[in-house]
Amino acid sequence: MHATGSEIIQFIDLNLISVLFLFGVGFVGGLVSGFIGSGGAFVLTPGMMSLGVPGTVAVASNMCHKFPKALVGSIKRARYGQVDVKLGLILGASAEIGVQIGIHVQKLILDRWGQAGSNLYVSLAFVAVLVSVGGFILRDVIKSTAAPATAPQATRIARALQKIELWPMIAFKTAKVRISLWFTVPVGLATGMLAATIAVGGFIGVPGLMYIIGITSIVASASELVIAFVMGLGGTLIWAWYGMVDLRLTLIILGGSLFGVQLGAIGTTYVKDYMIKVVMATIMLIVALSRGIAVPRYLGQLNLMDLSAGWDLALSRVSFTLMIIALLVGAGIILGALFKARKLEAASAPELEPEPA
């Protein structure tokens, strides 16, 4: 990361296929991000690396496309009255601290166990966080869809935290929540740490906002875009300081993702609150499976398990394919829900009333 200048870094030559691939993944990633607030970018780093982009450049270029995408998405969703900017900025600030902690932890692991150990740590973090949080969200979705239709309510823990009058209390108008700053900080820190570890902080940020702070999934996913913007801008400045950003890659991905993020944001105005949870849980669980499949590879690299080169390659490919499937399934659910809801809305448009004489 600290190697400076283009003389050290190999920037790849772009061809039509790689441009189309990046544009397409950018679009689908943007669609998912616009809808659930995050989660669209996790395929991009391995995707770019599969094109031959060095890991650090892939991470830096991915980061550099994330913050303008989050900016555009949050502006769009703010127009729909879904963004709590104050909440996003406060959590963004604590998430920045979380990122630094996460990077420090990563460095410690890298120094002690090397690259394979770091990869294993990342994969285990993926599996542990995504299975537990994704499973919790899925359970919540199943429970809420089985129950009679009521307005979404805050969880018991969120209600309990909101009752504790611990200075400084902050009122978030759009989120319709009044809570102590100290209860928002852990959510921000965890978001930042996860972002530094698996590059998708929103997988903990959005559930944290929903279940700990107690806001609706629509506002949570929209405010997460503000957090992503703050974290992304900070991260990009650091990467760009070391000259790691491949602007061409960033702009190609951005080209596709801005189309997607707009569509994803529009989608949130058509669907019910729980649909965001459905998409998020689905993506999280498929990605957890994908990373779970990759765990034996890293165990093999650490000599903790015997794994042939053929199996190593096969697991790597299956893992990457599953990641793409996760993104495509998420995008499919979003587009399906969007167009179905649009059709229903058009069909149920009120019959035009004649004008009184």
Partner: protein, 290 residues
Amino acid sequence: MESQFHAMEAVAARPVPPDRWPMPQIRKRILVVSRTGGLTAEVFSAVLKIAQRLGLDLIALYTDPLPRNTAPPACRPAFIVKARINGALLMEQARRRGVHAQIVIAPGKVARTVADLIAASRGIAFVILEPDIALREVRSLVSVPVFAAVVETGRLCPSSTLSLARRHGIGRAALKFFNVHSPRGGEQMAENVSRKKNVQKTFVFGAAAAAIYAAVFYFADPLMSLATRGKFYALVPVATVFLFSYIHGNFTSYFWSALGIEASKRTGVQPKAVKPVKRKDTRPRARLSV
């Protein structure tokens, strides 16, 4: 039938008794209704275009809402003259377009006359009313679709009108020139105007986005060498993506809007809360004079 129709195939038509009213025809027809005795040129043109495109015949009904108080009631002479002249023009234009048209002049209340004519003359696909005729009243008495001509708002075609038309087997072309009077009329008009603006802005921002993309990739080498120098040159990629997010972001936003993919009107944009106005307290105060 209480009302009396005057039917004519040409200008020189003469009043006929009810038993000689236009009889049911196999061909479907459009009934266009005027109560002023003079359909405007815009209505003429639009109705004839529709009839021509759909291959329908046309009946123009001129109904005099203030007939002479005779038994049976009769149209005012001035109304008949006006209607005949207007009918002659319509017939001539219809002939040029190859549309078979009939003119009917009748006294009586519009809704009742329309209902009587529809009952007497089967095959009427739908009814188009002059703008100032009460749509609700006519609709309450007839079973065929009734539309009001709103030529000023022109080519508006709300989706619900289209679905209504589809249910009744009316072609899209028929509705292109007409709109149903509705409280949503203004909203629809605004929507159309905004769609047009969106298309224009899509082109403007699209061209700008294409230009900056072309510029970046044309000057890729010098730009990359700047962006990867590190240190304070870190601002180069950051500023570049900010510029792109503005131009390309606007382009993509207008792009979806131009395609008609916009936020839901039901749950989409949340209206801003109206701040309550603080009322001045004008109640008398207790005073103490010392």
